[in-house]
Symmetry: C2
């Protein structure tokens, strides 16, 4: 699946090369967590990795290219989010638990990768295809599962016909992502994180089933 790792000028990277390449990615990742995207410079990343800017350019066309790489690695991990919904029930009490666990897992994932996800979000919003395809890849697992759940309830007549499962699922996922990105905003707004989660779970439950949860 993953073709050989190659340098910009076409050589195949060996053990040592892949190591420095990865180190550069790690340092870039760290850099993104501590300073604004706009101010992340190749030279800083290189210095942090104990190497030179020229080395960076051997492995990546630019900062954006490297970010895409990191995001791609993360997307693989993001596929694991499916487990939050695989085989879960959306009926009765267990639906409430499913909602809670989804919110929990999703927020945790986003918090863990917030720095890189910010950049992906920006790129996607700016209309860069590479970024929004990546964003879809990351969110697909959750999105599809949610849409399936809605569609299934709809087939059983428990959800109105005129609901569009994909639209509702997408909106809910977008909500979770946005809230995760701006948790600090909520805090300075008088909403504690502990209070936030159940309310998000409530909205998810309402969105999927159309009913209030039975707790």
């Amino acid at each position: 699946m993953t073709g050989q790792v190659r340098t910009v000028d076409g050589r195949v990277a060996g053990r040592r090369g892949q190591a420095t390449r990865q180190k550069l990615l790690d340092c870039l990742s760290e850099m993104l967590s501590s300073s604004p995207y706009r101010d992340v410079k190749v030279i800083d990343v290189a210095r942090k990795a104990g190497t030179s800017p020229a080395t960076f350019y051997q492995y990546f066309p630019d900062v954006e290219g490297a970010v895409l790489e990191i995001a791609d690695q993360m997307a693989a991990e993001g596929a694991g989010l499916t487990e939050l919904l695989q085989g879960r029930s959306w009926v009765g009490k267990s639906a409430w638990q499913t909602s809670q666990e989804l919110v929990d897992g999703f927020l945790e994932f986003w918090r863990k990768h917030d720095a890189i996800l910010r950049v992906v979000d920006l790129g996607a919003a700016e209309g860069d295809k590479r970024f929004y395809k990546l964003r879809m890849k990351i969110l697909n697992s959750v999105n599809n599962s949610l849409a399936d759940a809605v569609a299934e309830l709809q087939a059983k007549g428990k959800v109105d016909k005129d609901v569009n499962p994909a639209a509702v699922a997408g909106a809910l996922v977008a909500m979770l992502a946005a809230v995760a990105s701006h948790q600090k905003g909520f805090q300075s707004w008088g909403v504690k994180q502990a209070e936030l989660k159940p309310n998000l779970a409530l909205l998810v439950h309402l969105g999927v089933t159309g009913k209030k949860p039975t707790k």
Copy 2:
């Protein structure tokens, strides 16, 4: 309220000065719509405005500073979003209409200012206080009105006690903002914009009232 407009080195700006200042802001705004935030350079903005980089630095400390200025002007306009909710009813049929109009108005506002709002969102997510205070200022009108609506229904016993109005309102607003930013994502996902709106309105209605709308 608004103190005199001043240059970076303390002079007060006259008519001509304010004009070039505004021209720089307009050009920056345009620039942000057409190229990624990371690639917007002072020199390009200056060139587009038919002036020199030095002039830019006379009025703004850096690109970020100028963006804050633009966003501030927009925040004033954002206060007008309150009208989407002022004096509206959240009972019966009119609740459904209120939801629809809120979604419509909000998406329109976001679409109109998407370039600058992307940057504000990024700044806020990165934890920059100036940006997330600004973001709150923009969203406050809608957010407060929504929270009030929920609190009111709660007081009447129509919404569960354990719902946190501020949390629900914040999450719904975040959802609308996120969906507006990533509409293209939805399209390439098989959801048309026309289908999207009613589903968003549905989620808003569910979130505020806890019930399905009566149409």
